[in-house]
């Protein structure tokens, strides 16, 4: 009789940088080849650890942007001006460099097809990263789960994955996408020009009687506002999954 395999404890492993791609002025995607990667689920994250020559270590969490269908793992990192880790990852890292990480982490903020929908994805800034893994996973498996993505950025040029998301939305009648630009809008902008609040959610989100499944990711105050707004619309708390990231950045 076969024994049930245990997942085992998370350990640190090295990944080699095999691709680097700027997404916006402040964000960059790193693609890693990880020989010991066990595979992941859409929405999971990794912890990245940097070690200085004197032994000082700093850890940060970053969401995985790539879908489970891809063997290589893509992280999208936002550069924080005085960050300890993100400036290194976005400015210093070169192809062929190795970085240390552990993962995949988390089973809570995860979407896969069997969880169904309708799906509401709400992102503040780089909170779109784990939601992108969900969208990519959904596209990769040909899922028709009705999905709405509402994301908030400061300006048009800050929109992460814009071309890919617009392409997905243009070719998939079951996917609807809207952006809210909070600081500046380009001429002729037809999207939202205000912050995401309960009123905007009431306009764009699924009605609560459709029993939507919501994933909300962004800075803590953003997530608080959106989660509260969704509950005021009648969303069930257990069907609103949140992932906050703090002032130190990361997932």
């Amino acid at each position: 009789m076969e024994r049930t395999a245990l997942p085992g404890r998370l350990t640190w492993q090295f990944g080699e940088v095999v691709a680097l791609r700027p997404e916006t002025a402040r964000t960059k995607s790193l693609t890693l080849a990880l020989p010991d990667w066990p595979g992941h689920r859409a929405g999971q994250h990794v912890d990245v650890r940097l070690t200085a020559e004197d032994g000082y270590q700093a850890e940060r969490s970053y969401s995985i942007a790539s879908p489970p269908e891809e063997a290589r793992v893509m992280l999208t990192v936002e550069r924080l001006a005085n960050g300890e880790v993100s400036p290194y990852l976005t400015d210093e890292l070169r192809l062929g460099d190795r970085i240390e990480l552990r993962g995949p982490i988390g089973g809570y903020f995860v979407w896969e097809a069997r969880l169904g929908g309708p799906l509401l994805l709400v992102a503040g800034g780089s909170g779109v990263v784990p939601l992108m893994a969900m969208l990519r996973h959904r596209a990769a498996i040909g899922s028709h789960v009705p999905t709405r993505l509402l994301s908030s950025f400061r300006t048009y040029d800050d929109i992460i994955y814009r071309e890919e998301i617009d392409h997905l939305a243009a070719t998939d009648p079951d996917l609807r996408v809207a952006y809210a630009l909070t600081r500046a809008q380009p001429p002729g902008w037809t999207g939202y020009s205000r912050r995401i609040d309960a009123g905007l959610l009431a306009e764009f989100a699924w009605a609560a009687d459709q029993r939507p499944l919501a994933y909300v990711c962004g800075p803590t105050p953003f997530v608080e506002l959106v989660a509260t707004g969704l509950q005021s619309l009648g969303y069930l708390p257990e069907r609103v999954k949140t992932e906050r990231f703090g002032p130190t950045g990361g997932a």
């Binding site: 245990l6 300890e84 982490i105 988390g106 503040g124 950025f153 105050p221 703090g246």
Partner: protein, 119 residues
């Protein structure tokens, strides 16, 4: 995320809720908590299970949630998971000089799925 910033991020503009970086260090933002999901890495380094789906019953108010849905306060000293209903400290965790210190007194029952797949 497990370490506080060494200095405040230098945005001259006051932070707005939708900005992805905020100006003050965590000590000035007592309610900058994360989700229990953020503690999945360090919990996964201790336990051989996917711990964000492990379910904890709060010893104080009896509320039951997956750890991923609890509130996480993460500092250089360690991590505290709190009950989202009554704020009780469920789990305190520190990693000091090669040892993990785990205080679970806020948890009445911790239910861990032994199968890997979907916990």
């Amino acid at each position: 995320m497990t370490l506080p910033p060494t200095e405040p991020t230098g945005d001259p503009n006051p932070p707005e809720p939708f900005d992805t970086a905020t100006a003050a260090p965590p000590s000035e933002q007592p309610d900058q908590h994360l989700d229990g999901n953020a503690a999945g890495g360090v919990l996964g380094a201790i336990f051989a299970f996917e711990m964000t789906m492990a379910v904890a019953t709060c010893d104080s108010c009896g509320t039951t949630n997956p750890l991923g849905a609890d509130m996480a306060y993460m500092y250089g000293m360690g991590t505290i998971l709190r009950c989202p209903t009554c704020d009780t400290a469920l789990i305190r965790l520190a990693h000091v000089q090669g040892r993990y210190y785990l205080d679970l007194r806020g948890v009445r029952v911790l239910r861990i799925a032994a199968e890997t797949a979907s916990a």
